[in-house]
């Protein structure tokens, strides 16, 4: 029994995303050790039917994207793959910014996005949490469900992620300046 195999057993049994913090607690290990175990598990799963997904300090198991068609046929509930333009825009913002509050999304889109965000949250494509910077607001971040629909193991696998994310940090500063009086 290694930390890595215990980790695998726990993830399989719980069948839901778990945070590194929570895992460290269950495993009675340091978070750094858990991270090492995650790294090893990820490597060991390479080329297998199961993959490890990572997002916001949480991890989850899923089937590898190569088996998409095979598994989709076993799925009972019909998946809705339709996304409106508004939804696609909001999702891209949430993805490439690594989460955003409504004001930030509205600023970029130039229109109010509250209904779009609600619909995305209901569909489980974004997670609605309390904004860490302001408890009166919601913060929307990508969900594991969204990564799954996109067939990616982590947000970094999105095309152009590193460049765009960096570019956005710069733009965000400007936006803050410009949006000060709004």
């Amino acid at each position: 029994m290694t930390l890595e195999t215990k980790l695998e057993a726990i993830l399989f049994f719980k069948n839901e995303p778990l945070s590194i913090k929570k895992l460290a607690e269950i495993l009675k290990a340091k978070e750094g050790e858990v991270k090492d175990a995650i790294f090893n598990l990820k490597r060991n799963l390479e080329g297998r039917g199961i993959v490890l997904q990572e997002k916001d300090d949480e991890i989850s198991l899923g089937t590898a994207r190569e088996y998409s068609a095979l598994i989709e046929n076993l799925q009972k509930e019909e998946l809705s793959k339709e996304l409106s333009k508004a939804s696609l825009e909001a999702l891209s913002i949430v993805l490439y910014k690594g989460g955003a509050n409504r004001a930030e999304i509205d600023y970029i889109r130039g229109v109010n996005s509250s209904f779009t965000l609600r619909a995305l949250s209901v569909r489980g494509l974004v997670e609605r949490i309390t904004d860490p910077r302001d408890a009166r607001r919601f913060f929307y971040r990508p969900s594991f469900g969204l990564l799954s629909y996109l067939g990616i193991k982590s947000i970094e696998e999105l095309p152009e992620f590193a460049e765009v994310n960096k570019e956005l940090l710069g733009a965000e500063e400007q936006a803050k300046e410009a949006g000060k009086d709004e």
Partner: protein
């Protein structure tokens, strides 16, 4: 893929979507020159939009008018705030352009090669385990709370700014003023409103004036920089 902006058939997508379509249709980059060039098309669309939607376009319309005015009247002095508005519009439009490009990529991938999480176990062991938080009163309070948090029909979707004044209203007001007094100064007409609302009102007024001049209903005159713009019925 989008080669032409179809004003009549296109669904409402917000001011940036419209503006970007117009700029891209002409294969232009985003800058003051291209924005001045598409201003009229933009306004033409805004005028055909349903009243409930016009409001979301009006702030951008106001900035476009500024850009257009500056290109028509190079002597026009812009305040630093106005220059800031123009810069900010260009930046926001570039940001929006970036996300529109990224969302095309997201669309392409969405639902293609998917990852699936495991289904729920069918015969999971069930142990009846209530929680002392579950009481009749608490259940009622929570249900009521959920109802209160649901969106109501009265909240109009996708409308960002308060409706201040429409172009048509301004044109109507302008026409009435002109008909009453033959010659009136532009500043007098817009009554030099204060703050954001006043500024927008001035800008929309200016736009309305340009429109009437274009239609040949009005004649406008400005004797020099900073001078009053005098308008009269043609």
């Amino acid at each position: 893929m989008e080669t032409a902006y179809k004003v009549k058939t296109r669904v409402f997508e917000g001011p940036f979507g419209l503006l970007l379509d117009l700029v891209e249709k002409r294969k232009l980059f985003i800058n003051d020159v291209s924005l001045a060039e598409v201003t009229e098309d933009y306004l033409a669309y805004v005028k055909t939009a349903p009243p409930a939607e016009i409001s979301s376009f009006i702030v951008v319309a106001a900035t476009l008018i500024l850009i257009k005015s500056k290109s028509l009247l190079p002597s026009l002095d812009l305040s630093s705030e106005e220059e800031g508005d123009i810069r900010s519009l260009e930046e926001r439009l570039r940001l929006y352009e970036l996300f529109r490009r990224l969302s095309a990529g997201v669309k392409k991938r969405f639902g293609q090669d998917m990852i699936f999480h495991a289904e729920e176990r069918k015969n999971e062991m069930v142990v009846f385990l209530p929680d002392e938080q579950i009481t009749r009163e608490r259940m009622m309070e929570l249900a009521r709370g959920v109802i209160g948090a649901m969106p109501k029909v009265t909240a109009l979707p996708e409308v960002p700014v308060k409706k201040i004044v429409t172009i048509e209203e301004m044109i109507k007001r302008l026409t009435e003023r002109i008909e009453k007094s033959i010659k009136v100064s532009f500043r007098d007409f817009t009554r030099g409103g204060k703050g954001k609302e006043g500024k927008i009102s001035t800008i929309v007024g200016f736009l309305a004036m340009l429109e009437l001049v274009r239609q040949g209903l009005l004649r406008a005159e400005q004797e020099g920089n900073f001078e009053e713009i005098m308008i009269e019925k043609a």
